[in-house]
């Protein structure tokens, strides 16, 4: 564990020595701020419209969580998909490119120490990202009364999605020594895992009308991250969803460990 933490802290420091981390954090802050502002203005405009048309029932059902925080976090987890590859691309690939992987592999630490150290560094970074995103909904508590439980569930969801994507990034970074290739590979994997799997099922289902809820389609939908986001954003924490994030992360870490370990016997 000590080795893991050492590798994690060293990796996090090296992230902040390069401009990548600062660029990602800046972009993330700007995008988060913009999305929050857009969500806020949309909420305000909708409220005015409903007041104008005297739609009192709809006004009563409007609330900060469902109409502002949920769409905001729902947008941010998609942004993670685009920015995170820039952070994870160098986690293992840079070691290979610099030739320091041999030092790591021959030092008295296990492969799991290396993999978990890299993973933890990424997790710490996405925790910072989540905290930045969480700052905006936190502002609402000063001016309004959003539900704390729902808000925290949404932030937990954003963090868990990001953590899962870090595991994917570690795997993609471990299969190549080229950081650009690692970036593209991570991006493609995240795109498939996060967004494309449900589309693939839906497209293949259209016209058949029989297997829309078949077991295979169910499994493919379960594999998509997007299938495990909505419930948690709405304040419903399902242990099945939590298990998905844990299992998906673990699978990619096992794959990363196998790929890194392969350098010893290839």
């Amino acid at each position: 564990m000590r080795h893991t933490l050492t590798i994690a802290s060293r990796e996090l420091r090296s992230l902040f020595l390069s401009p990548v981390a600062y660029v990602v954090l800046t972009l993330w802050s700007v995008i988060a701020g913009t999305f929050f502002l857009v969500s806020l203005l949309t909420f305000h405009e909708r409220q005015l419209q409903l007041q104008q048309f005297q739609m009192l029932e709809q006004i009563e059902t409007m609330n900060l969580n469902d109409n502002l925080i949920e769409p905001f976090i729902g947008s941010m987890w998609v942004i993670v998909l685009f920015l995170l590859p820039a952070v994870t691309m160098g986690l293992v690939a840079s070691e290979k490119a610099n030739g320091t992987d041999e030092l790591l592999l021959t030092s008295p630490i296990t492969i799991w120490d290396i993999v978990l150290g890299k993973f933890l560094a990424g997790v710490e970074f996405v925790t910072i990202l989540t905290a930045i995103a969480g700052f905006f909904p936190a502002l609402l508590f000063h001016y309004g009364e959003p539900e704390l439980g729902k808000t925290l569930a949404g932030m937990l969801c954003l963090w868990l999605v990001s953590v899962t994507y870090v595991a994917v990034g570690v795997f993609a970074s471990s299969v190549t020594r080229n950081q650009l290739v690692a970036f593209i590979f991570t991006f493609v994997l995240l795109l498939i895992l996060g967004m494309m799997l449900p589309f693939i099922v839906d497209i293949s289902m259209s016209g058949s009308g029989v297997a829309a809820d078949s077991k295979v389609a169910e499994v493919v939908r379960w594999m998509a991250t997007g299938s495990h986001v909505d419930r948690m954003l709405q304040g419903l924490i399902d242990t099945g969803d939590l298990a998905y994030y844990a299992v998906a992360s673990a699978i990619f870490l096992v794959l990363s460990k196998t790929v890194i370990e392969s350098a010893r016997w290839r």
Partner: protein
């Protein structure tokens, strides 16, 4: 391995991956062209074979030095270890999905079913198939609601969502109209074959529909007619309720909607799983056998002797009567009611100071209303203050648990109290 061999190996891997993906899609989509599957797999294998052929020298050298043997031994071990670990993780995921628990952290518990619905689902003794016909863009809110039902009793409830355009045969078979499909339809079917369709998608609507299906439907409550009673049948003036802004117009009620009618009482009884029908006793020799209760709602004309005799026979064999009589009305129903006087029961011990809603106005005779003829009171005291509609609503709103102390002219037997206890409370 040379750069070209590596490139060929990479391309071969991609082609193989496409082939496998197309094969997976073929499982989902029966109309996939098999040429794509075979073509991708063949190209992938050829490219990989070419890559191996170009690297034969390197491979031979590795075999001679023993490197390949070592790689094979350790590599197989590592790959098998990874496959085994992933299989275990997959099994863990399967178990976690099958035995998931949910925590609703919203303040108003919007994702939690009411206790009544949970109780109903827990007591299901046969499989229930819920099929929702919705366009994908309109499905999410309904999907969330129905998903709660399926989640609550995964053993019995099976939920299926169908895109209407994708299943014309099923829609034709079920006889669903285009107007219903435009708004979406939910069909609830029991394993026994009984089914109902819903066009209102609230928890109370779904639970009530399910309750109606599950519960026996052989209990009918008859509303007596022929003596100028309050009617339940819709008249020509009964219109649909004006639509709320932003909502589709409400369907016309199956029962009367006038303020002097008992239509809303009939609606409430239907929601409580009873069949409701009008009964013209003058044309029948006896009260039907399937009558759970007979309601005599404000008669103002005298009964025929045959009718009174039929009602008396009905009560004698254990039937339940619900009588609401205006004391000023010219009716001869009082002798019938007088004949129903019962011996006082022992005083029931009360568990608390709260009023027992099942008891009547006489504490010594719980559940039995005093007949005005027994203990004459000033006529005004017996007058109906708010009309029968209001009284019926109040009574039904309390889950039919019994008459309130200040309601006049109400007669109920032991069976009617029993019915009140059997009825479940309505879902939230």
């Amino acid at each position: 391995m040379t750069g070209t061999a590596l490139l060929l190996a990479g391309l071969g891997g991609v082609a193989l991956a496409f082939g496998l993906l197309t094969a997976l899609l073929a499982v989902l989509q029966p109309f996939s062209d098999p040429i794509w599957i075979v073509g991708n797999l063949a190209v992938g294998l050829v490219l990989l074979a070419a890559s191996v052929f170009m690297s034969l020298d390197t491979l031979r050298e590795r075999v001679q030095t023993g490197a390949s043997r070592r790689a094979g031994r350790y590599g197989t071990s590592a790959v098998l270890g990874a496959v085994f670990s992933i299989a275990i993780l997959g099994f863990v995921a399967f178990l976690s999905a099958r035995h998931a628990h949910r925590f609703d952290v919203s303040e108003s518990q919007v994702h939690t079913l009411s206790e009544q619905t949970k109780g109903l689902l827990a007591k299901l003794d046969q499989d229930v198939a819920i099929t929702a016909f919705f366009a994908e863009s309109e499905a999410p809110p309904v999907r969330d609601l129905l998903d709660r039902y399926a989640f609550e009793n995964r053993e019995r409830v099976e939920l299926t969502f169908v895109e209407p355009n994708d299943a014309p045969g099923m829609i034709e078979e079920l006889g669903l109209g285009t107007e219903d499909l435009a708004r979406g339809v939910v069909r609830i079917a029991l394993a026994s074959g009984e089914a109902t369709t819903l066009t209102e998608f609230t928890e109370s609507a779904v639970t009530n529909a399910l309750q109606k299906l599950v519960k026996s439907k052989d209990k009918t409550i008859y509303f007596l007619t022929g003596h100028n009673e309050r009617t339940i049948e819709p008249g020509p003036d009964d219109q649909a309720e004006p639509p709320m802004p932003g909502h589709p117009p409400a369907p016309k009620s199956a029962h009367a909607t006038g303020p002097d009618s008992f239509g809303r009482a009939a609606d409430a009884l239907v929601n409580e799983t009873y069949e409701v029908a009008s009964l013209l006793l003058a044309t029948q020799s006896d009260v039907p056998e399937d009558a759970a209760a007979v309601v005599i709602a404000g008669p103002t004309r005298p009964f025929l002797d045959g009718e009174l005799a039929a009602l008396a026979r009905y009560v004698e064999r254990g039937g339940a009567l619900f009588v609401a009589v205006d004391p000023r009305a010219q009716t001869n129903v009082y002798p019938l009611l007088q004949g129903l006087r019962r011996r006082p029961r022992r005083r029931r011990r009360r568990r608390s100071g709260a009023r027992d809603l099942r008891s009547g106005d006489d504490p010594a005779r719980p559940g039995i209303r005093r007949d005005p003829r027994d203990h004459p009171r000033p006529a005004r005291a017996h007058a109906l203050p708010d009309g029968p509609q209001r009284r019926a609503r109040t009574r039904l709103g309390r889950g039919l648990h019994g008459p309130r102390p200040h309601e006049p002219g109400l007669v109920g037997g032991a069976r009617s109290r029993c019915l009140a206890r059997e009825r479940p409370r309505r879902a939230r």
